[in-house]
Amino acid sequence: MKEYKVKNIFIEGAIPPEKIAQSIANHQSKTGIGAHDIFLGQVRADEIDGKKVTAIEFSAQQEMANAVCHEIRETVFEKFPVHCMHIYHSIGRVGVGELCFFVFVSSGHREGVFESLPFLVNEIKAKVPIFGKEIFEDETHQWKVNK
């Protein structure tokens, strides 16, 4: 099902696992789908100069982020045999061990999802104006840098 309206990818705070279950369940009526692939980003307790990350606080240029995701989505629909695609990202504070990023693709067969999902995730990381601030135990912080 291609959808052409610009969607809001942002969710306030952590993404609850129940949202993922609900999203999966929503696909049961799409009986051409044989394979789903879900990528989840989880906040790591990285240790930097002896201090542990306890949360990441995300900010974004949300309007542009949604517009860029819309374009990336269209590119993926053109390049890969994907039936469905969903992108969600946290805004605000997400604690260690919680989920901040949820990308979901569905296709008739597994090749379609294995090719499209890494492309989609990498495109989002590279092109979407989202900024993470890593908060340490003592409430000091540093700005996250993607590898």
Binding site: Q61, P129, K133
Partner: protein
């Protein structure tokens, strides 16, 4: 031309503000970068990108908007 610079992520800390309105003479993305880097060392010492109307702009793309986003490297995901 009056232009509102909108800072994001760590640039809001670096500049101590979320936005500021300045008067510039540039009319392309690259010219604006040069102009900003002449005005303030922080533009020379930090990696940033410009965007207008929700699109990254660079090189001789013409400035048409009143607001320009100034982005540090993205770190979502």
């Amino acid at each position: 031309m009056k232009l509102t610079l909108k800072y994001h992520g760590r640039l809001t800390e670096l500049f101590g503000k979320k936005e500021e309105t300045i008067t510039v003479t540039s009319n392309t993305a690259e010219a604006l970068k040069q102009e900003l880097e002449g005005l303030d060392i922080r533009f020379r010492e930090n990696v940033y990108q410009l965007a207008q109307n929700n699109k990254i702009i660079k090189g001789n793309e013409i400035l048409t908007a009143f607001d320009v986003d100034i982005f540090p490297p993205f770190s979502g995901g």
